[in-house]
């Protein structure tokens, strides 16, 4: 962020609100986000919850943060590093300090830097005074005291009073970045409708923080303004990857003229989709909390057999458990969607951290030749689109579709232009009724078998996981038939490639020296890195692959248009190996397995290096 003396314009800012789990940082962040969206900025946010449910107050593992990146142009990631760090206690400072840019601003609640809190955070001495924060700007404020003063007239208990601290801080930051407070006031009044005293206290704290900014002489710190981004007109809201997915599934099912049975077993970070859908029974969604992931997958399969769209969701370990059942859906050629919210592995791994290391599992995590469709969502709003695509492909091709998202994406948020009801898609999924010449594995010209649903007179039939005769659907052990069916299952999935968009180049020239290839939630990081490299004058393009199985038919041609292919993934090279095997291109990998998003600066470096080598 380029600061100037008076309230001056900056292009983009990254703020990280950090405090104890009890300090209300998620709430603060969300309110700041809404105001920012209303200010017309583009933005991306990412919450960072502690792994523990409720860690002891003041400990480092109890720190909860919320990061927002906003600006006057396209914002694609929550930001590699932070311009402003709000640290409500020493633990928050300790955990987050290394995300702060050198020269960045720390806003710290001095009142919370007590000996006890310092020692809980593992500090031997006070970092605000011992030189630790020397490389940064420091705004050390007695937030606790100011807050209590602001709410004094309301005669709250000290505890209740102190709970308003986050609003004081929010007020200060809203002054600093010139955000409107009206939506926050509205929200407070709605939220605390039944506790007028609290509504008033929070409002008072918010205003006090704002006034403090306006009036106090803050050494070296002044107000900034961030010009609105150019965005299309329309109605907006912020959506997370979870909301995008969930709403997309509902919209997709309507488009397919079917309903959803969503069967799942809770697991981080997949559960929120289940939670969201659990309250949508009116929209044709029955959710089912199964006894385990296998049952969840099987309930989905049973539902699809019975004529609704069975969907299941999980994360790493749970997806591994579903392999056998997915194989049954492949063999019986039933529609099914499997949502895989990837997290860091192997095994239990780091459940709250992001990774893209389940791609090869998606393709091969079952016995036998068992092809399925695989799609990946790139952003919260893309999650909406991809979910609709998953419904379309599953119901029109009678196949399981694995839809990949991850720990980062399910929680990330961005502003979203609400689609017009008239623009919503429609692709009714046909069900069989014709009894003449019917058999359950009779394929149409696309190689797709009929969806013949129990309850339909005259279509009574039996299916199962044993190999089936191509011409009858009856059990068959015939060698040539098995080859034919194996080929037919593969061909059916390949045929989807005729029915998906061609691969495009996301940015940069259509052919050239270098293309960076990615998939899934790293889209924003890669796009940003490529843009930055382009700004540096480097010749580099970006290809983002949404359809991972089947791959777009023209992908080979697109990639072969570049001298070098760099595949950037949060894994040890999974898409990389697919592309090398398939197209025999000497692609190289930019692989990071840290539980965190690809860093923009890191990737820009690698782009430089690769181009350097080619010289």
């Amino acid at each position: 962020m380029t600061t100037q003396k008076q309230r001056e314009t900056v292009e983009t800012v990254v703020i990280r609100f950090a405090g104890d789990s009890g300090d209300g940082m998620q709430l603060t962040g969300n309110q700041f986000t809404v105001s920012t969206a209303l200010s017309g900025n583009d933005l991306a946010t990412f919450p960072d919850y502690p792994a523990e449910i409720r860690a002891p107050v003041g400990t480092t593992f109890g720190v909860s943060s919320f990061q927002i990146h906003f600006g006057s142009h396209d914002i694609l990631t929550p930001g590699d590093s932070v311009d402003v760090l709000v640290a409500m206690n020493p633990a928050a400072l300790k955990v987050n300090l290394d995300t702060l840019k050198v020269g960045g601003l720390i806003v710290a609640d001095a009142d919370s830097f007590t000996d006890r809190n310092l020692s809980k955070a593992g500090y031997d001495s006070n970092p605000l005074v011992d030189g630790t924060v020397a490389p940064y700007q420091l705004l050390e404020l007695e937030v606790s005291r100011f807050t209590l003063e602001a709410v004094a007239e309301l005669k709250l208990s000290k505890k209740d009073g102190l709970r308003c601290k986050n609003f004081w801080t929010l007020g200060l930051l809203m002054w600093m970045f010139d955000r409107p407070r009206d939506p926050v006031h509205e929200w407070i009044n709605k939220k605390f409708a039944k506790r007028e005293d609290l509504a008033r206290a929070n409002t008072a704290a918010l205003n006090a923080g704002h006034i403090y900014g306006e009036t106090a002489e803050l050494s070296g710190v002044t107000g900034y303004s961030v010009a609105p981004a150019e965005v299309a007109p329309g109605t907006y809201k912020t959506i997370t990857g979870t909301e995008g997915l969930a709403q997309g599934l509902v919209v997709g099912a309507r488009a397919a003229e079917t309903e959803v049975v969503f069967a799942s077993y809770p697991i981080t970070p997949a559960s929120p989709v289940l939670h969201y859908l659990a309250d949508l029974k009116e929209y044709g969604v029955m959710t089912f909390q199964a006894e385990d992931e296998i049952a969840a997958a099987c309930v989905a399969i049973g539902a699809s057999f019975a004529g609704k769209l069975g969907i299941t969701s999980s994360s790493g370990p749970g997806i591994a458990l579903k392999g056998e059942a997915i194989g049954l859906a492949v063999s019986t050629e039933l529609p099914m969607i499997i949502i895989n919210a990837q997290r860091a592995g192997p095994s239990t791994g780091m459940p709250t951290k992001a990774e893209q290391a389940d791609l090869l599992q998606a393709l091969h995590g079952r016995n036998g030749e068992s092809p399925i469709a695989v799609l990946a969502a790139a952003t919260p709003s893309d999650s909406f689109e991809v979910a609709i695509e998953a419904v379309r492909i599953a119901t029109h091709y009678m196949t399981p579709v694995m839809l990949m998202t991850d720990s980062y994406l399910v929680n990330a948020a961005e502003p979203w232009l609400l689609p017009n009801a008239d623009d919503l898609p429609s692709f009714p999924a046909p069900k069989a009724t014709e009894t003449e010449g019917f058999h359950p594995f009779k394929r149409d010209e696309r190689g797709v078998r009929p969806w013949a649903v129990p309850g339909t007179p005259g279509l009574e039939h039996r299916i199962g996981g044993l190999e089936k005769g191509f011409d009858s659907g009856n059990i068959s052990y015939d060698p040539t038939n098995h080859q034919q069916m194996t080929d037919a299952r593969a061909a059916k999935i390949e045929a989807i490639a005729d029915d998906i968009p061609k691969q495009t180049v996301d940015s940069g020239p259509q052919t050239g020296k270098l293309v960076v290839v990615g998939w899934g939630s790293t889209h924003g990081s890669i796009k940003t890195a490529v843009a930055r490299a382009q700004e540096e004058g480097l010749e580099v393009s970006h290809v983002h692959i949404r359809y991972l199985s089947p791959l777009p038919r023209n992908l080979e041609a697109v990639l072969k248009g570049f001298d070098k292919v760099l595949v950037s993934e949060m894994n040890s090279g999974q898409l990389l190996s697919m592309l090398r095997a398939r197209y025999l291109i000497p692609a190289v990998g930019h692989n990071r397995v840290t539980g965190q998003l690809i860093r923009v600066d890191d990737l820009v470096n690698q782009i430089r290096n690769v181009l350097e080598e080619t010289k």
Binding site: P183, P233, V261, F288, A290, V299, E460, I475
Partner: protein
């Protein structure tokens, strides 16, 4: 096209597939009993769905001319649940074996029972893994010699009935492959709204021939079987002169002879199919001390899963707009 209005006969439920169980297998008799039972249930043929796992028994759906799904080992209960959640109108029958239901599928069975999804479970208990060639199963008696237990198995067997009660089942019955009462039990199971578990003692002629002989042998069957009926005294024996009597002040029963030792019919317990503790007691009775209890042992209906689920729907098909517009929105002009 088989319309739903046609009068159906048992043979209308036979599919065109050649039945491939071993000659003499108890599964044949069960197949016939089911085919005899269905026409009387008043259900349109296209609404029947037979779901099974894997095992000899699980081949069953192929031999029925209804909708059928031969799924994967142990997962039948979950697949069947999915069918019912999607469409509660369908009439679902789950076919499973002692290995399929109690070994790999034990957990799904328990959860099916406690959720009380409205369907029938026919558990073909032959105390062996038939399809995989004769390994001992969770219901095999301790000491059973088999390819995986050449020195005798060292596992205490499970009782399907006790397990079902432990899981909170609302309907538990027991019958025998060749028993003519089987159709009656199946009809009762169908009547019951909720998950109905019917354990069927089934003879595997190849790998476990005669394992139930002590119970089923026609010569002695009357003394070894007690056919329970709600509201009727718990009597058995060729002369119906044997009965179960509660030992005073305890929770145990004894077999007594009516007429002997001053015992009258009044001393005999009356079967109450709603009594959970009695059901557990009856299901736990083992030969040779006790007769084996057959018939509907427990039936105490409760709301079904899908009924409660669908009752939660608040309105019919609201517009998608109302969903998309949820939450805080803003306008850009």
């Amino acid at each position: 096209m088989t319309g739903s209005t046609v009068e159906l006969k048992a043979k209308d439920f036979a599919s065109d597939q050649e039945v491939r169980w071993c000659p003499g297998c108890g599964d044949y008799a069960i197949l016939k009993a089911v085919q005899r039972t269905l026409p009387g249930l008043g259900v349109p043929k296209e609404n029947f769905v037979f779901v099974s796992g894997i095992g000899c028994s699980s081949r069953f759906p192929y031999y029925m001319s209804t909708y059928g799904f031969h799924t994967i080992h142990g997962r039948g209960p979950a697949i069947a649940t999915g069918v019912k959640v999607a469409n509660p109108e369908l009439d679902v029958w789950l076919i499973t074996g002692d290995g399929d239901a109690l070994s790999i599928g034990g957990n799904h069975l328990i959860h099916l029972l406690r959720r009380n999804v409205n369907l029938q479970v026919l558990l073909f208990n032959n105390e062996i893994y038939g399809l995989t060639k004769g390994q001992y199963s969770p219901t095999s008696k301790r000491g059973t010699r088999s390819p995986t237990s050449p020195r005798g198995s060292v596992e205490h067997p499970l009782s399907a009935g006790w397990l079902a009660m432990g899981a909170g089942a609302h309907f538990v019955a027991r019958s025998i492959d060749t028993a003519k009462e089987l159709t009656t039990v199946l009809t009762r199971a169908h009547e019951h709204k909720g998950t109905s578990l019917v354990e069927i003692l089934q003879n595997c002629i190849v790998f476990n021939d005669g394992v139930f002989e002590a119970v089923t042998d026609r010569a002695t069957a009357a003394d070894r079987q007690i056919h329970v009926e709600h509201g009727k005294p718990l009597v058995f024996g060729k002369e119906k002169n044997l009965g179960l009597k509660l030992k005073a002040g305890s929770l145990t029963v004894e077999v007594v002879t009516i007429g002997g030792n001053g015992i009258t019919t009044d001393d005999i317990m009356v079967h109450n199919e709603k009594d959970k503790v009695l059901a557990a007691l009856l299901l736990g009775m083992e030969a040779p001390e006790f007769p084996v209890a057959l018939g509907v042992i427990y039936c105490d209906p409760a709301p079904t899963y899908e009924q409660m689920l669908y009752e939660q729907v608040r309105e019919e098909s609201p517009t998608l707009d109302s969903l998309l517009n949820r939450g805080q929105t803003w306008e850009v002009v």
